[in-house]
């Protein structure tokens, strides 16, 4: 909304200015030397914390005129970012998910961050958690700076789990590292709540079913795509095991088969379920609700010795500039460094910081429940590479909707796998538009 109005007014102002004065070279949204346009996709608690961080930046850099625009997450965001960059009116800095950033790099829409520029701001590889840093490289080059890792995690109600005898004397949850232990814990929680053991969003959801599936499937070592998305390599046996397991949870009544995102939150917040599975960002929701809860790693149900969990990272990147301007790039890096320096504020929202000076600090270790699942960042499994893949992409929509239909009990695992293979093959064999 903000963009539309802004773009419209900016466009109108530019047209008027051109018409009246013939003033050439007027670019809307860029006012003088010290301006910095920043686009992000943070709503809710993240939005509040991001605003705090921006205010801190403003206070410390009075010479920089920061203009931040918040847009809705998902496809519309990436479409707008791509089109603005193509139209040579890009913001100076933009947030992008690590898994979506790569497609933009392939399309040539992102400025490469040169080592010498980064070094000037102290942004060197050794300061970042290795997993998000490595995963973000394209052909060994840096295009985006990871701010965090946001893994899929498990929330649990400490009251319910205590009554169900699932907590050890220190108050920690015993590991649920086999399908039996996992199911058993949900059953015990259900005996207490009289409603459900656990809850995960299914109805009108694509990303959440994909996240829980991908976490379990990667624990089995499964891969969905290969060869930059040109080949579909879904493994019938492993996918079948995961889908059968997920369906068994809803079929046995341990989890509701038909519940949407908000409904899942409400079910957990009302104490009608002992466990809730979602990305760590919902931490603020339950803190606000004053729920007795904690968070931990999503259980290693199938992995045995190997742990894996679905995750993504928020990165900050500089969209391609019509003519590369060292000063603008420098200003953008100053801003990025400021965001990293405020990792503490950002971590309150649940995200695992990528900035090691904070992540390795005692300050972060003392932050609970946030630091309980910090190791998830090292076991993060990002969405497979491919032009149609990534956070909120068609890949997630296709796989997520079909997985949801299995969890809702509308389709058998075998027919779901066939449908996933069919739809993904369609995408894989389409000539990439990038």
């Amino acid at each position: 909304m903000t963009l539309t109005r802004r773009a419209l007014l900016g466009g109108a102002a530019a047209t008027a200015a051109l018409g009246l004065t013939g003033c050439a070279g007027l670019t809307p949204g860029r006012r003088g030397g010290g301006s910095l346009d920043y686009w992000n996709l943070f709503g809710g608690g993240d939005g509040v914390r991001m605003t705090q961080m921006l205010d801190t930046f403003r206070a410390a850099n009075r010479g920089v005129d920061l203009d931040a625009v918040t847009l809705a997450w998902g496809n519309p965001y990436y479409t707008k970012l791509s089109l603005a960059t193509l139209g040579e009116k890009p913001p100076d800095v933009a947030v992008a998910h690590l898994t979506r950033m790569k497609t933009m790099v392939q399309a040539g829409l992102v400025e490469e961050l040169l080592p010498e520029d980064l070094a000037r701001h102290g942004l060197t590889a050794d300061k970042f958690a290795p997993r998000p840093w490595q995963a973000g490289l394209v052909d060994g080059r840096t295009y985006a700076i990871p701010l965090d890792t946001h893994p899929f995690v498990m929330f649990y109600n400490t009251d319910i789990c205590g009554k169900a005898g699932l907590l050890d004397p220190s108050g920690a949850l015993a590991p649920l590292d086999t399908p039996e232990k996992f199911t058993d814990a949900l059953r015990k929680a259900k005996d207490i709540t009289k409603a459900y053991g656990g809850v995960v969003a299914v109805t009108n959801e694509t990303a959440t079913p994909w996240r829980i599936y991908q976490s379990l499937y990667s624990q089995l070592g499964g891969e969905m795509l290969a060869d930059q998305g040109r080949k579909v390599v879904i493994d019938d046996d492993r996918a079948g095991r995961v889908l059968t397991f997920l369906q068994s949870l809803t079929r046995s009544g341990l989890a509701p088969p038909s519940i949407d995102y908000q409904g899942a939150i409400a079910t957990f917040a009302n104490g009608q379920a002992g466990f809730y599975f979602q990305g760590e960002w919902e931490i603020s929701t339950f803190q606000t609700a004053k729920l007795p809860f904690s968070m931990t790693l999503f259980p290693n149900v199938f992995g045995g010795g190997r742990y894996a969990v679905q995750a993504d990272s928020h990165t900050l990147l500089i969209p391609r500039q019509p003519d590369r301007d060292p000063e603008r790039i420098d200003r953008a890096l100053l801003f990025i460094r400021s965001m990293l320096d405020q990792s503490r504020t950002w971590a309150e929202g649940g995200h695992v910081p990528a900035w090691l000076p904070f992540r390795d600090s005692a300050d972060y270790k003392a932050m609970t429940p946030q630091s309980n699942y910090a190791t998830a960042a090292d076991a993060a499994v990002y969405d497979p590479e491919g032009w149609y893949s990534g956070s909120g992409s068609n890949f997630e929509i296709v796989t997520g909707s079909i997985i949801a239909s299995v969890m809702a009990g509308q389709q058998s695992p075998a027919s779901a796998i066939a449908q996933i293979r069919d739809k993904l093959t369609n995408l894989a064999t389409t000539a990439p538009p990038v």
Binding site: L86, N204, W387, N394, Q410
Partner: protein
């Protein structure tokens, strides 16, 4: 809508304006029309032609220019795509589900509102009010009503001992649920058209009929319905076109799910064009859909022509 305006102005120019004044109006009329025509060419005709052009290329949203020439490749791909046909069917299924109730219920309510002696304004407002709501608000209200486990509909039906379906979660129920939402939302427009039509019917006809001993039901069947023929044609065609253009409800309430059961053709265009960046292919699908709408509009023109000859 535009065609309708054109027909109306065409007719009024023929019938209402005296010829001597009509002739002299050439230049001022052109002057008045220029701003509209300019915008029309700039924002409707221009983009449509550019869309047609793009449909023959592998145009990408993340690359400048038209990219490589694809010939009829995009059209061939669409016609062979199961996703294209299923989403086209979803749009048609939605049209089938919404059009008859939106005509019949609107007619019924208009008939009732027309008979009310006191406080007619209240009923007019009550039935019309939802129509002025933005689609996002309507979606929010109905998502809450349909919410599984907690929603008003499920709770209400549960009290009556009826097990509610998973409104938006069941592939078989999702489309009827969206149709119900749409009925509540857009009923007001047809209602107002019918109310206007009813008020144009000469009251003497009813008086004469009742003196001849016609029952109220006979009056409705033999006077009201035939006299509202033109209104019904208008309502039906506007409704079919509006239903074919459905996008908001699905996009906001089900994201085309569950498992693509409610993805409309326009959402398919959106998914391909904006999510997958395949603007060329999405343009080709839009053009194919344009042909469908064009076909429906042609039927409308044929119907109008016939009615005008009858009158």
């Amino acid at each position: 809508m535009t065609a309708e305006t054109a027909v109306r102005t065409g007719r009024s120019a023929r019938e209402d304006i005296p010829p001597e004044r009509g002739r002299g109006a050439g230049l001022p009329a052109a002057g008045f029309l220029t701003p509209f025509l300019l915008l029309y060419v700039l924002f409707i005709i221009g983009p449509a032609l550019y869309g047609l052009l793009m449909s023959f290329f592998d145009t990408s949203a993340v690359k400048p220019g038209l990219s490589s020439f694809a010939g009829l490749g995009n059209y061939a791909e669409a016609l062979q795509s199961a996703d294209f046909w299923s989403s086209l069917w979803h749009t048609i299924w939605f049209t089938i589900l919404t059009t008859p109730p939106l005509i019949i219920v609107a007619f019924g309510l208009a008939l009732l509102a027309d008979r009310v002696k006191h406080g007619r304004w209240f009923f007019r407002l009550a039935f019309f009010a939802p129509y002025i709501l933005p689609s996002a608000v309507v979606a929010l209200i109905w998502i809450w009503l349909y919410t599984p486990g907690l929603g008003l509909l499920e709770t209400g039906l549960g009290k009556l001992g009826i097990t509610a379906p998973a409104w938006l979660g069941d592939p078989d129920w999702a489309m009827p649920s969206l149709a119900l939402t749409t009925l509540w939302w857009t009923l007001g427009f047809n209602f107002v058209l019918y109310l206007a039509g009813l008020q144009e019917i000469n009251r003497d006809l009813y008086e004469a009929a009742s003196m001849d001993g016609a029952s109220p039901w006979q009056q409705i069947r033999s006077i009201t319905i035939p006299m509202l023929g033109r209104t019904t044609t208008l309502v039906a065609v506007l409704q079919v076109i509006a239903s074919l253009k459905v996008f908001d409800q699905m996009y906001l309430m089900t994201s085309g799910g569950p498992n693509f059961a409610t993805r409309s053709i326009l959402q398919y265009v959106y998914d391909e064009g904006f999510t997958n960046f395949r603007i060329g292919y999405a343009s080709a699908v839009s053009m194919l859909f344009f042909l469908v709408v064009l076909g429906v509009s042609a039927v409308w023109f044929a119907l109008i022509r016939r009615q005008e000859k009858e009158v």
